[in-house]
Every structure is written in structure tokens, then in C-alpha cells.
Symmetry: C2
Subunit: 231 residues, 2 copies
DNA sequence: GGCGATAGCTCTTGATCAAATAGTATCAGT
DNA sequence: ACTGATACTATTTGATCAAGAGCTATCGCC
């Protein structure tokens, strides 16, 4: 559950030590949202949060504003803050965008590819496969995230990485309660190795087609789920 | 100077009428930053802003937090808020990402292209050219933004559009004080018509190469400028 | 004359408070 | 019994305040 990549703007700080009450509270609420402990649409009352987290209401007001800026919560005048709802088009747009970003990262990263990096990706893919085989869904999701984040890092564009992670976390915040089918999970592991092979061969066309097929498969899944969700 | 596209989250509201003091103040400060009226690194004191804008300090604290979440200002504990500084790699990453997004939008948009849309893009390109010929730099920048934003809209991905505009505005907030060389501006107008022609012919390869060449040219320009800037 | 410590000022930060607004429940009238 | 208005409660919103941190400038010391 350790996030190897923080999408914080104040990431220049030595650690995740938030000296501010506002930063502490912001991180706590963000974790709650991304971990799915609070569901989209749920109200976030300053007084209730203040009491629960042991802070005053002031830091919470500012924390919620910051999260509003990040797009995780929405604040309506005189109505307060709620966890941002995810409608169908928002989630699919987000995933489609992330597919483009992954293709971009693979293309950029191929030029700077080393054997060490290939090995590292293979290790991450292997980790994913073993988590799936052991039936540990939560760890598998985290492993999947790590694999893709690493690919984005190899691409070398910090902003693309940041956008990607924000999208990824948002999608999975919504999806945490659901699960992929077992078949899809197995195929995902195969897709990882296929992608790595394509990268090793510097076969951009193959890599791109794998990513696009994966995109199509997940997109179908998302649309199917979101259609019977009223959100 | 009217922005045809607001990247607001609360864009669902009927108009840009901010009923909140916080929203009003947030918009004012954001405009100031994006218009270049405050320079990167400049301090944003709550009391001074409150006095100048005619609000209390409370809404300003929350507004600055929201803008921190958007990435426009950075807040250091006990030091207050400053307009976010843009270092070399940040700006170049941003621009490179935007190039990818434009290619993505052109590819998606080509399928849904109509004669009306082509005409609209031609009108926007013509507007840009006339602004350049008249030597109206500010209007030309705005026209250029409108052209590219429209292409992103034709792509149909709302999230990509949002990310694109944020990046665009951030880059130009830094660049507002500078100017393209006259030659570059002329070429930019040519590139617009070349791109439109490629789209009309459904020639994705041509469109992509134009966008990549444009990216390379602007990237050189950015790097040259940022190298002798300490930021 | 130069360097470091201390005092003072400015600004942020967290807390409390009054007013305004929205949502809810109660009550009266038909 | 059902609809409508009214009063009440809960929560946000904007303001003020005390305390703490950081910066600056003056003063003393080497």
C-alpha cells in the first residue's frame, strides 16, 4: 500500500511529513477517497470530519478547497463538500486518455530502454501474476498500478506521469468495490508479458496494438458497469 | 479575451456568476496569474489581496488553497502562498504532453469531421493570420488558443481538453511577457493551414508530422529561453 | 569595520463566533 | 388524510482574534 509515487505538488519536501494541519488533513481525506472508504456523492461535513480526525474546522475548510482544486471533491455554495461523482463519460474519457498516455510513454521510453528496465518490468509482471494466482485482489491492483506507473516513469515525462496517476487513482477509487472477472485478470497478466516482449523487440506497432486492445476490453467493462449505475 | 472554454469544475453552473466570495476571489486571482499580471515567484499575501479586492481574508485563504490544488500557486508552511515557479523541465514536459494530446485529438476528431468543422477551423486560422498581420500579439495568442482548443474539442475527450487547457494556460502565463519572433509567427499560420489540409484529406500521417515539427520548433524556443532564465 | 544575536514587526495559522442559508419537521387548514 | 406554510435545526460562510513562526533591522561584541 506504499505509494512509490506521490502526485503531490509539494513533493520537494524530504518526506511525507506534513508539518501543517492542513496538509495532514488533506492527505487523510485524499487517502479515504482513493481507498474507497468514502463513496462518490457522500457528504463531507467540516464539523464531523474535524471531530473525527481531531482537528479544528479551519484546516478542514482549506483542505476541502485544495481537494476541490485537485478535482476530487466538489463544493456547492451553502451546500458544502461532497466526494466528486463519476459519471460514465468522465470515467471513460479518463481511461481513454490514460491509454494515450501509456502509448506515449512506451514510445518515449523505448529509446532509453535498458536490460535492467526490462528485467524490472518482468519482475513487476511476475509479481502481478503471482498475486492473481494467490487470489489477492487488492495486492494485484496495487501491483498493476506499479507496473503501469513504472512504464510511465520510463517515458520520462513528469507531467504525463502526474496526469496518468491522477486518472488511474480516480478510476480505481470508483472501481475498488468491484472486481475484474477472473478471465480478464489472467489475460491482463498475458498482456503485460506481450507488452514487455514488444518493447524488447522495439516493436512499437505491436506495443501500441496491445495497449489499444487492452483499452477496448476495459472500456467495454467500464461502460457495462456504468450503464446500470445511475451515479 | 472571453474564454470560450472554462476549465472550471463547477462549470455546470448556468454562467460564470460566482455566488461565493471564494469563487469570485479564486477567479480573480487565477485571471491575474494566467494573464501574467503577477509573475511566478511573487508572494500572494492574504491581507494585501483582501484589501485590494475588497474581501475579507477568509475567502482568500480558501481561494489560495484551491489554486494550490490546481497547481497554480504553491503554499509553504508559515511562509504563505507564491505564484508557482516554472522550471525548465516542467514547461517542456507540459508542452510535449500537449503535443501528444493534440495528436490524439486530431486522430479522434478526424472520424467525426464535417465540412462545417473544417470551415470553422479555417475561419479560426484566418483570424489568427489577420491578427498577426495587424501586429496584434495579444489577440493572436488568444486566437491561437481558440484554434487549438477547438481541435481538442473535436477530439471529444473532455478530460484531454481539460488537461490541455491547463497546460496551455500555464505555459503562456510564463511566456506572456516574451514574444515569438516574427518569422515563427508567420510559420505558425502556415502550419495551421497545413494541418487543416491534412485533416481534410484524412491524412493522419501528415497531420502528425506537422504537429511534431511544430512541437520541435517551439521546444527549441522554450529551451533556449529557459536556459538563460534562472527561474 | 565586520559578524552575530536579539528585538520588533509582519504574516500565517488555528480557533471561536455571528449571520445566512438550506433542509427538515411540525402544525394548521381544507 | 393530504397539502401548504411556518418554525426549527444543522451547516456553511464570512469575520475577528490570539498565538506562533519567519524575516528584518538595529545593536552589541569581537
Amino acid at each position: 500500500m506504499i505509494n512509490i509515487l506521490r502526485m503531490e505538488d509539494e513533493a520537494t519536501l524530504p518526506a511525507d511529513s506534513a508539518v501543517n494541519s492542513v496538509d495532514q488533513v488533506t492527505n487523510l481525506i485524499r487517502e479515504d477517497i482513493l481507498a474507497g472508504r468514502v463513496t462518490p456523492g457522500e457528504r463531507l461535513k467540516t464539523s464531523e470530519l474535524a471531530k473525527r480526525l481531531g482537528f479544528s474546522t479551519m484546516p478542514l475548510r482549506e483542505a476541502l478547497r485544495k481537494l476541490e482544486g485537485e478535482g476530487l471533491v466538489s463544493i456547492e455554495p451553502n451546500r458544502g463538500a461532497t466526494v466528486r461523482k463519476l459519471d460514465s463519460s468522465y470515467v471513460t474519457d479518463l481511461f481513454e486518455l490514460n491509454t494515450e498516455l501509456r502509448i506515449f510513454a512506451v514510445r518515449s521510453g523505448m529509446r532509453k530502454l535498458t536490460l535492467e528496465r526490462i528485467r524490472e518490468l518482468e519482475a513487476l509482471a511476475e509479481d502481478y501474476r503471482s498475486q492473481i494466482d494467490a487470489g489477492r485482489d487488492t495486492e494485484a491492483i496495487e501491483s498493476n498500478r506499479r507496473f503501469n506507473a513504472r512504464i510511465m516513469e520510463f517515458g520520462g515525462n513528469q507531467e504525463a506521469l502526474r496526469v496518468f496517476l491522477r486518472g488511474w487513482d480516480t478510476i480505481f477509487a470508483f472501481r475498488r468495490n468491484y472486481r475484474y472477472g477472473a478471465g480478464r485478470r489472467k489475460i491482463m497478466a498475458e498482456e503485460m508479458t506481450l507488452l514487455i516482449d514488444a518493447m524488447r523487440r522495439h516493436d512499437m506497432a505491436a506495443a501500441e496494438s496491445i495497449l489499444r486492445m487492452q483499452n477496448a476490453a476495459v472500456m467495454d467493462d467500464l461502460i457495462a458497469r456504468l450503464s446500470h449505475e445511475s451515479t
